[in-house]
Chain length 375, copies 2
């Protein structure tokens, strides 16, 4: 079964931008790219109507396996008030008491919402269970939605262990890892003051790597820490947030193979300063953009929204932001089959209801996703 | 033909918020509001699925009658570069050469986009024709899309009149007004340094008022001017932008009957500072939010996006922002049949795919409009 997408006003292909283009999909892969008038026949045909075709977004950071509502916390934060109840631990309590069906229905709805906004690959983390059974359950359910599952037992120290953090690290690197590793591709840790320190993060990621998991990390959200350099040292695929970075962090990222994934939805939804992406790009660091979709600090599921904010508030060009949201995300997942449109790559792509990807920033908040091809 | 909307998780009614509510629409008007379990029968039934029901958005400021593309200008501005070609005058040139069908198709597409994002009333301005024939044509076409049409011959001085501004004011208040008044409800003027000064604005609005048009004004976008006080003096329904206001402007607005309409899409898309809405609200001024949808300074058509930015960057509460985007807009159009949900008001309303309107800010960029009732 082959499909011709004709009449593409602007095609963002791996080898550059092409005007008046067409492409052919065969068995889920891109089989042909060329000029519209010379397009071959195919079993099926879609007219892009002069719209722009881009790779599907690769959203490499989301926390979708949760229950409960935190809109009141958001409202209090926006009003400058402290919100006493809840936080991540409130979500943990609600998630533990939710049924499998409830958790899966909520995450399924959010994945569908993401896809409608052009996301064709999504990573999903555990991290609101924080027991062996609940983390394992979250990953088992997440596997039904994506192959990019991440074990995040080390999201926060649960209330039961506040006086025994070392004991919790033993759990995360022991029985919980045993239960979760078979259902995860990645292991992640929140390495930040108030969560896990560098030594704990090293122990957690190293244990996961030994079990065949790829490493990722949350760090630099609230302040500088040694987490970023540890991520590079351990060859983590990505270190996420990177809002606060030292010169040594930048040097390490530039010398290593770890992507810096920026999450502007967090800064938008918490009124924090945005990360300095220019410093990263100038140093040659590979940058990705992701939503961090979660009920606490960033409940957007919209990669187009993140692109608009990255352009407006972080000073990325529209082309840089699109690249970070597609090829950058693919690099952050160490995937070479997604994130760009070339012969042989997966045909995960989006037809925009706009003549250019620039409109993703030029028309903020406007649903511009006309059609999505992909998994 | 009556319709019951049942199972409303949260209803934003004129007399307050109600949980677990229902309402009945009869002949386009709200006939009944009450508790879900006590809802009467109706010819047709829609289940809101526990979602929130809000009034349809009233977008009182848009420039949809245009042709041409200005995405390159946006891209240059975001990169900090000066863009020499184009500006409003580039849109004027493209609009004059466009056919009626082209202009109407573009505006129709944008109105449909707005409706899909919850807007049930939209005001549309002329202002990219700037000749008798082209302004009249724009209003004739706009009338096919909305009763809220605004004659904005005084948008900018066209190139033909740069050395004879007085001559252009004579045209705007003379033959152009003659041709446009029958097709417009409102007259508007851009009263700002570089556009029209206070004396010219007074002459223009006064001429329109004499012909039975209601007055509106653009002012305070680029700096303080006497425009805001003139708008109040002439009892304009609204003065729009209000980014720069003197204490005297605030006092005048508080004492008068003119709404201050804020357009945060402009500040987002031009990286300008946001207006100080708290100062207006504290003074008792009625505030509206609108998109200013136009190809130059704000090409968003999304009222939810404007609400999210108003909460994040202007410090409005979600309830204040929703009120400004609905009842505030109705006041800015001097309408009492829209903008709130009460017995007898128009059943222009939106079912959200969310339990609360707070989610419009809590979930920025996410399409949350489940269903729209209204014209």
């Amino acid at each position: 079964m082959s499909t011709l997408i004709s009449n593409i006003g602007l095609l963002v292909a791996a080898d550059g931008e092409r005007r008046d283009a067409a492409l052919v999909i065969d068995d889920g892969r891109i089989a042909w790219i060329g000029e519209n008038p010379t397009a071959p026949a195919a079993d099926d045909r879609t007219d892009a109507g002069g719209g722009c075709v881009i790779p599907g977004f690769v959203d490499t950071h989301s926390h979708l396996m949760f229950a409960g509502d935190r809109s009141a916390e958001f409202e209090a934060r926006m009003a400058g008030r402290k919100y006493e109840a809840g936080g991540i631990r409130g979500t943990v309590a609600a998630t533990r008491t939710a049924t499998d069906d409830e958790l899966l229905a909520n995450a399924t709805r959010l994945v569908a919402e993401m896809r409608a906004q052009g996301t064709t690959t999504v990573e999903i983390k555990s991290g609101y269970g924080l027991t062996v059974a609940d983390e394992s359950r979250a990953l088992r359910l997440a596997q039904q939605l994506t192959p990019e599952t991440t074990y995040l037992g080390a999201h926060v120290v649960p209330v039961e262990f506040v006086d025994d953090v070392a004991g919790y690290v033993d759990l995360v690197t022991g029985p919980m890892l045993d239960a979760c590793a078979p259902q995860a591709r990645w292991i992640d840790v929140f390495c930040e003051a108030g969560a896990f320190d560098v030594d704990q993060a090293r122990a957690i990621l190293s244990a996961g790597i030994t079990r065949g998991l790829g490493a990722r990390m949350h760090s630099g959200q609230l302040g500088e820490s040694g987490g970023v350099r540890l991520a590079v040292e351990l060859d983590a695929a990505s270190v996420d947030h990177c809002t606060f970075l030292s010169d040594a962090d930048i040097d390490a990222l530039a010398a290593g193979n770890t992507v810096a994934t920026l999450l502007p939805g967090v800064e938008f939804s918490t009124r924090q300063p945005y990360p300095d992406v220019r410093r990263l790009l100038d140093a040659g660091v590979t940058v990705a953009l992701a939503t961090d979709c979660n009920p606490g600090s960033s409940f957007t599921s919209s990669m187009p929204f993140c692109i608009a904010v990255a352009v407006r508030d972080m000073g990325m060009t529209p082309a840089e932001a699109l690249h970070a949201a597609t090829a950058g995300g693919a690099a952050a997942l160490r995937r070479d089959d997604i994130g760009e449109l070339a012969i042989g790559s997966r045909a995960d792509l989006v037809i925009l209801d706009a003549p250019s990807y620039v409109h993703l920033a030029y028309r903020p908040g406007v649903p511009l996703i006309s059609r999505v091809f992909g998994p």
